[in-house]
Amino acid sequence: MKRESRQKVQEILVSWPSLFWLCLFFIIPTLFVFAIALKPANPYGGIGPGWTLDNLRALANSNYLTVAWRTVWISVFSAAICLVLSTPIGYYLARVSARWKGFFLMLIIVPFWTNFLVRIFAWKVLLHPEGAIKKALALVGLIGPQTSLLYNSGAVVLVTVYAFLPFTILPIYAAAEKFDFQLLEAARDLGAKPFQAFSRVFLPGIRRGLLTALLFVFIPALGSYVIPDIVGGPGGEMIGNKIAQRVFVDRNLPLASALSVVLILSVLAPLLAVLVLQRKREKPESLI
């Protein structure tokens, strides 16, 4: 009994710095967001007295609904493209010889040591009306001289894929590394076509990696702010831009909080869905 209580004291001693810090600077601020969403704004850019539901009502504005819908489909598209591109790469990396594997992994990680803003800026230059891609495409005749590659949702999807692709390649590669490739050969021997073997044996085999990868791109994409801000223009705005505008343009903190509450809830939904999905799927497996 005495030993146990001493252990407890030790545990609390080692745990309190991080518990204290994260409660103060992570949990409490999040609760503040929920509380301030129910407060009125005062005319000086601060928070007024009393409570109100006006901020939540303001969310029903058709402008916000358009932006919310766009946020969802941009994130879905970006996540889908990332997974489609990462799967063959993960497959390839898991099968190639150790030397090449190290080399390719290095090549995948290196560009991402560079600053996030710099990488987005590089795309702004590339997609610019005077930039290389526009000129090349116009030369081939694929686009007219008036088509703009920049400042639309397509540009946002492209740059989001660019920014998050390594984060989807790595978990898929890690899952593929553990996959037993003899299963693919067995499937082929049993008469499966190459694509059938890939989709019905390999893909289910790396399911966990795919789910992790999905979360790694979908959640940050929902909360994207810098990418649509730099390459999106008004036609590519996402919910993150709206939050930033309420904070920096018209300084309406309660409305910014209300928008953030929507974002928090929409981030929680896929997270919980994946957790439940993984738990359900695991049970029968653990019996084997």
Partner: protein, 257 residues
């Protein structure tokens, strides 16, 4: 069985996709042309111009100061968190603790930025370098804790017990056994915290005040309002610095082995 060529083709295409923008950016930083429209001769003029921008140097100094302080603080807090999570795993408190440490890793940056802003506004704290420091420590703790925890999980508990059995006290065990064994994890965690801090834009942007411009904030306002070739030059310098740092740390870790 003949293997499909597709995976290889996709890998190469994606690598080209990764490098193309960066290479064009570096090449353009040496371009004498002002408008990025074609090559107009090699020039170092943008680099020269960069040296006459005092704003950039001030911002770099701020970034460095914050990164060093935030790394130190988050290294201490993150390491104690990892020790607690490892040593007392499975207690109810540690289950909560793990969730608390893990969640900031999956929350979008903008949410952390806005919630900290709300806290500082509600508490009446003036925004500036200090609030940026607090914010950076908050997101670095989780990364440090996870890195150190990973290291702790694959090391041999028996060594610590052996030290105890041989008469080493708590302090001697920590200093002579635990810390040397943890060192690679600590170095990796510190490097990660430093890089994240010096690179962070979104959270910093929300909690920065007037006069507390960091390098990423400066880069952002240059992207929005400044001249592109100047950013090309600055980006190329940043690239060179990161590459040197990473190459050096790789060399170091290899030498130690």
């Amino acid at each position: 069985m003949r293997r499909s060529r597709w995976p290889f083709v996709v890998t190469i295409a994606v690598l080209l996709f990764f490098y193309l923008p960066i290479i064009i950016l570096i090449v353009n930083s040496f371009n004498a042309s002002r408008f990025e429209s074609g090559w107009q001769g090699f020039s170092l003029m943008w680099y020269q111009r960069l040296f006459h921008e005092p704003e950039i140097w001030r911002a770099a100094k701020n970034s460095l100061l914050i990164a060093v302080c935030a790394t130190a603080a988050s290294l201490v807090i993150g390491t104690t968190a990892a020790l607690a999570l490892h040593r007392f795993a499975r207690t109810r408190l540690q289950r909560f603790h793990f969730g608390l440490v893990y969640t900031p890793l999956v929350v979008p940056e903008i949410l952390m930025g806005i919630s900290l802003l709300m806290l500082f506004v509600a508490a009446g704290v003036e925004l500036g370098l200090f609030t940026i420091f607090l914010a950076h420590v908050t997101f670095c703790i989780s990364f440090v804790a996870m890195t150190v925890l990973a290291r702790l999980q694959d090391f041999d508990e028996a060594v610590i017990e052996a030290a105890r059995d041989l008469g080493a006290g708590w302090w001697v065990t920590t200093r002579r056994v635990l810390i040397p064994m943890l060192l690679p994890g600590l170095v990796a965690g510190a490097l990660l915290a430093f890089t994240l801090s010096i690179d962070d834009f979104v959270i910093t942007f929300f909690v920065a005040g007037p006069g507390s411009t960091t390098l990423p904030i400066r880069v952002y306002s240059m992207i929005k309002f400044g001249s592109p070739p100047l950013i090309n030059a600055l980006s190329t310098i940043l690239l060179a610095v990161t590459f040197t740092a990473v190459a050096a740390s790789q060399r170091l870790s290899r030498a130690r082995r």
